[in-house]
């Protein structure tokens, strides 16, 4: 390890700070890099990039490692933000963290690190790698492989995830505190990084023109209320419908063309449930699709792993999974990620239905 150069992505948080500290202890030649992806303030949310950067730099100096700031704002804007906005505009529910990992952290960052002479890269993700394969983290509650399914094994082969072997976040914080890292008690970041705790809705309303339309009851067609744009809603969503009381209602369907949001208060509504999900835009960590058969699937971050029967199209790119029992409908655009035991194999993007 001595003489092996590792470039660590440092966000100023406890996970990536401890990552850098552990690698220094293991004898690597470590350089910390803060990726400046986004620095814009939004209404009600002051982007904390400058504070995060200062925290990251403070840790780097304490560890006695080099520290640099790489500007990725242009790439982030194109690959993550534009993708996010375009997807919502089309009535999809994208996973911006998946794109950020594929395109920025394990794309631009990995490439720049290599150009700067790094042998390996490292991040503070909760995941593990073994010879280019992706495994779930020791801490099942924090496992972030759901966001890493599009990262190719060739990149993972030269990636270190030291935090992935630690059994809990509490232990991560304790280890950081034991090393005198001031970020040990820094709160976890919430939600999509650039909109913070304010949430996506105000951001989307800045980016996409409001388009008021009807909220309609499933089955009866009765108009229950108005919305600001069908693109703001996601299948299965319960909160934020603003229908002025009444029973809890769920979004059954969003139609951005007709600008109609269909809801129901009946949880047994068949459109809320499905036994089969078709996926496109598949990516496999190992490069090729696995063989048809029984796998575990997850359709949300740290969501339940369910047994499915997967069938892969011979020409690649698409596949379908079947559940033994109906599950709640997967919103179009969401990631469907397949596992075999501990290993994350890759996945695809849920089709429209």
């Amino acid at each position: 390890m001595r003489g092996t150069h590792v470039t660590v992505g440092m966000s100023g948080g406890v996970d990536s700070s401890l990552t850098a500290a552990l690698l220094v202890e293991q004898g690597y030649q470590v350089t910390g890099v803060y990726l400046r992806n986004w620095s814009r303030d939004l209404p009600g949310f002051k982007c904390p990039w400058a504070e995060d950067l200062a925290d990251a730099e403070r840790v780097a100096v304490r560890l006695g490692i080099g520290f640099e700031v790489w500007d990725c704002e242009e790439a982030y804007r194109q690959e993550v933000v534009d993708y996010l906005v375009d997807s919502y505009r089309q009535g999809l529910t994208p996973n911006p963290d998946v794109m950020c990992n594929e395109k920025i952290k394990f794309g631009t960052f990995a490439r720049l690190a290599e150009e700067h002479g790094a042998d390996l890269i490292a991040t503070g993700h909760y995941a593990r790698t073994r010879r280019g394969r992706l495994l779930r983290s020791a801490d099942a509650h924090k496992d972030q492989t759901y966001f890493l399914w599009r990262v190719p094994g060739t990149v993972l082969a030269r990636t270190l995830f030291p935090i992935g072997d630690i059994s809990s976040k509490t232990e991560v914080r304790e280890m950081a505190a034991a090393r005198g890292l001031e970020v040990a008690s820094k709160p976890d970041s919430q939600g999509i990084c650039f909109v913070g705790e304010v949430g996506l809705r105000p951001f989307l309303l800045e980016e996409i023109e409001r388009k008021p339309g009807d909220i309609v009851e499933w089955g009866t067609g009765r108009v229950l209320g108005r919305h600001q744009g069908a693109f703001l809603y996601t299948v299965g969503q319960r909160k934020g419908l603003d229908l002025g009381g009444g029973p809890a209602r769920y979004v059954v369907r969003t139609d951005t063309e007709a600008n109609i949001v269909t809801v129901t208060d009946d949880l047994s509504c068949p459109d809320l449930w499905t036994s089969r999900v078709c996926c496109h835009d598949a990516r496999w960590v190992g490069g090729a699709a696995p063989a048809d058969g029984r796998y575990l699937a997850r359709t949300r971050h740290t969501g339940q792993l369910r047994e499915v029967e997967a069938v892969f199209a011979p020409e690649g790119g698409t596949f379908s999974i079947s559940y033994p029992e109906p599950v709640r409908t997967v919103a179009p655009g969401q990631s469907v990620v397949l596992y075999e035991g501990e290993e994350c194999l890759g996945g695809g993007v849920a089709d429209r239905f």
Binding site: Q29, A50, L53, V61, L63, G64, V69
Partner: protein
């Protein structure tokens, strides 16, 4: 791992960034306190208690005016030096001229005007009166140069610059040109160590700040000569002659007056003491590191006594600040405002520093509480930090 934690006790809690902020003097606090509690009344209110507060406010204004040799009517109280500088620039709407090393509040105001001329500075940060003469044009309406620069400590020849400005004014008068021309100087950084007198400076507008004088933050003043017409930036109830509305900050102004009194009392002895300490610190550091670059004038009388701006080329000053902080020593890089934006100090670049020198530069400023022991301990801490960083930099990319 490094040994950065090994020496914490030696220099715990040494603050050397008095150009950024000063602790409020206990005497100033004592003067202010009654106006926060018992005498909280609105000075504009009609009853006797409020009128007494109004009288105290005016007494404080008179004290401030007296201490700078001015009439109270020419003093506008503001919420700090930045506002005072903004107000000074409100006096004109045409072309302005500033040196390239002015504080952000001056540069930003200048750039908001339709034309902004940059007056060149010498390598030591000095502004030559002749450079002012050749920079300004018949259209120039305001020249603004700080009495003492906050980043490198250069004391400017404001009196001689005022003569240049007066000569241009005389020319315009002869030529029948109506366009006004004023000289503004921000004396915030200077007032602790230099006497600020309206008549001896010869400027038309002068900014002062309580925050740099062991007084409260967000309290300052703009003195404006007769004939200068200030345009209000904050409108409302018409306080401060309509130039600056808002209920007067009575406690702040009373504290400001007391702070300026104390500064005036202690000025000459304090300046000599700080100069001695600063020179000792400079000697300790430059003798250890012969390649360290000291910014600012070489002559002590052209230099703010408590300020040492020096660079360790090849090092990153922000890293040094963090290492020093871990040893309990607080110092600045460039001005605090520039540092927060994480860019090389434009002022240092403007006076000819290389980007490498600018990136490696610390601003160390001593103040009233600074002792010789603190200076010695700080010097030791700085030497350790610089050596540690040099070791890291030289180890990088070499044989592992």
């Amino acid at each position: 791992m490094t040994e950065s934690n090994a020496h914490v006790t030696d220099s715990a809690g040494i603050y050397l960034d008095y150009a950024a902020a000063t602790p409020v003097d206990p005497e100033v606090v004592a003067a202010m306190l009654p106006y926060l509690t018992d005498d909280f009344y609105n000075p504009s209110a009609p009853y006797a208690k409020a009128r007494r507060v109004k009288a105290d406010l005016e007494r404080a204004r008179a004290t401030l005016a007296h201490l700078i040799g001015a009439q109270p009517a020419n003093v506008v109280l503001t919420a700090g030096a930045t506002e005072a500088n903004n107000l000074a620039f409100s006096a004109v709407s045409g072309e302005v001229a500033v040196s390239a090393i002015e504080h952000a509040s001056v540069l930003a105001c200048a750039q908001a005007h339709p034309s902004c001329l940059t007056i060149p500075v010498k390598r030591d940060g000095g502004v030559e009166p002749a450079a002012v003469a050749s920079s300004i044009t018949p259209q120039t309406e305001l020249v603004s140069i700080a009495l003492a620069n906050g980043e490198v400590g250069t004391i400017q020849p404001i009196r001689k610059i005022a003569q240049v400005v007066r000569a241009e004014r005389a020319r315009r008068l002869e030529a029948g040109e109506q366009r006004p021309l004023w000289l503004h100087t921000d004396a915030s950084q200077a007032a602790g160590c230099l006497s600020v007198s309206v008549s001896s400076l010869g400027a038309d507008l002068i900014t002062l700040s309580a925050a740099k004088l062991y007084g409260p933050k967000q309290v300052g003043l703009l003195w404006a000569a007769d004939g200068v017409r200030l345009k209000p930036l904050v409108r409302g109830g018409g306080q401060e002659g309509g130039v600056r509305s808002g209920t007067e900050n009575v406690a702040g102004v009373v504290g400001f007056a007391r702070a300026l009194e104390l500064a005036a009392d202690r000025r000459s002895s304090e300046a000599a003491r700080l100069k001695g300490l600063r020179n000792r610190l400079q000697q300790l550091l430059t003798s250890r590191f012969e390649d360290a670059v000291v910014f600012g004038p070489s002559k002590d009388r052209q230099r703010l006594p408590g300020l040492l701006a020096l660079s360790f080329p090849g090092l990153d000053a922000r890293r040094l600040v963090i290492l020093l902080e871990q040893q309990g020593v607080s110092v600045g890089t460039g001005s605090a405002c520039a540092a927060s934006k994480m860019q090389a100090s434009p002022a240092l670049l403007a006076l000819g520093a290389t980007p490498e020198q600018a990136a490696g530069s610390l601003r160390i400023t001593l103040g009233r509480p600074t002792t010789g022991e603190e200076v010695d301990a700080a010097a030791r801490a700085i030497i350790r930090a610089v050596e540690q960083e040099r070791e890291r930099v030289s180890g990088r990319g070499g044989s592992d």
